[in-house]
Symmetry: C2
Subunit: 162 residues, 2 copies
């Protein structure tokens, strides 16, 4: 009877083994993120945030987007995007223009500098994803990872509303 340990009276708490897996999972994801980020940085002077913004813009009509749409597209809060765009604009990766259709709005435009930086970053970045993630796992493990992620995300989505 492991289910009546004092620490787990009122509501079930994770067992030591479950907690170990949790920590392993979250720390590994963090380590991966950090390694990818540092490679991206050293190979192209872009942060993962820069990369996400440039990717979205490079796929947009005329290399330009309304900033809200950009935020929605990459799943960022608008304030976060605003701060980030400020930093990217200083580095000339993007430019902000007023929006003709709505005077409140702003359009974010990919500059040639930004496009060039993105072009140079993409292959090494994808290669790193392959090397650090895809190649590390067997096809079965990769599929399992995908399934676990999808399951967790679905569960998260439903419990966030409570």
């Amino acid at each position: 009877m492991t289910e009546n340990t004092p620490q787990r009276r009122k509501r079930q708490l994770p067992t030591a083994e479950q907690l170990r897996i949790w920590r392993d999972f979250i720390e590994t994801a963090e380590a991966l993120r950090s390694e990818l980020s540092s490679r991206l940085q050293s190979e192209s002077s872009l942060s993962p945030g820069d990369y996400a913004v440039l990717l979205a813009l490079s796929e947009a009509e005329g290399w330009r987007m309304r900033s809200s749409e950009l935020a929605a597209g990459i799943g960022w809060e608008r304030s976060r995007l605003s701060h980030h765009l400020g930093r990217m604009e200083r580095r000339a990766l993007i430019r902000r223009e007023e929006c003709a259709a709505d005077n409140r709005g702003a359009e974010v435009v990919l500059t040639p500098t930004g496009a060039e930086a993105f072009r140079g970053a993409t292959v090494p970045h994808l290669r790193a994803v392959r090397e650090l993630f895809v190649d590390a796992l067997t096809p079965g493990q990769l599929a399992a990872a995908g399934e676990v992620a999808a399951t967790l995300r679905a569960h998260l989505g439903s419990s966030r509303k409570l």
Copy 2:
């Protein structure tokens, strides 16, 4: 023959499906981290960083540790710890004392305030881990997640040295 797409000439790049799994994986981990962090924050006014520090200290001899050991124990750079301890000290969660054995060194001491905050945070935090992670997965998925994490970490460890 999917293996000779133009984009994957010189060195194999991830396929669209592999990339999708990668993004799902990393974004899910990030979403989990963020949800956990916000629950911890609202339930106990502690950040995950605070929690990690308090956990280590609460398990230490006499609620005190040399700051390098603390850094090593939770896997942080010393500079990061130093900044964080400064913030925690302002909130009276910890105290810094000079070290008798080595005059360069500092000892970090858990205060009663810190111990109390940690006590109040631990059960809700573990409950959240259970709810958001453990309960979302089948036992098989949980085991698979653990295996994937271990494999990725091992691979990361060996390729970081290159």
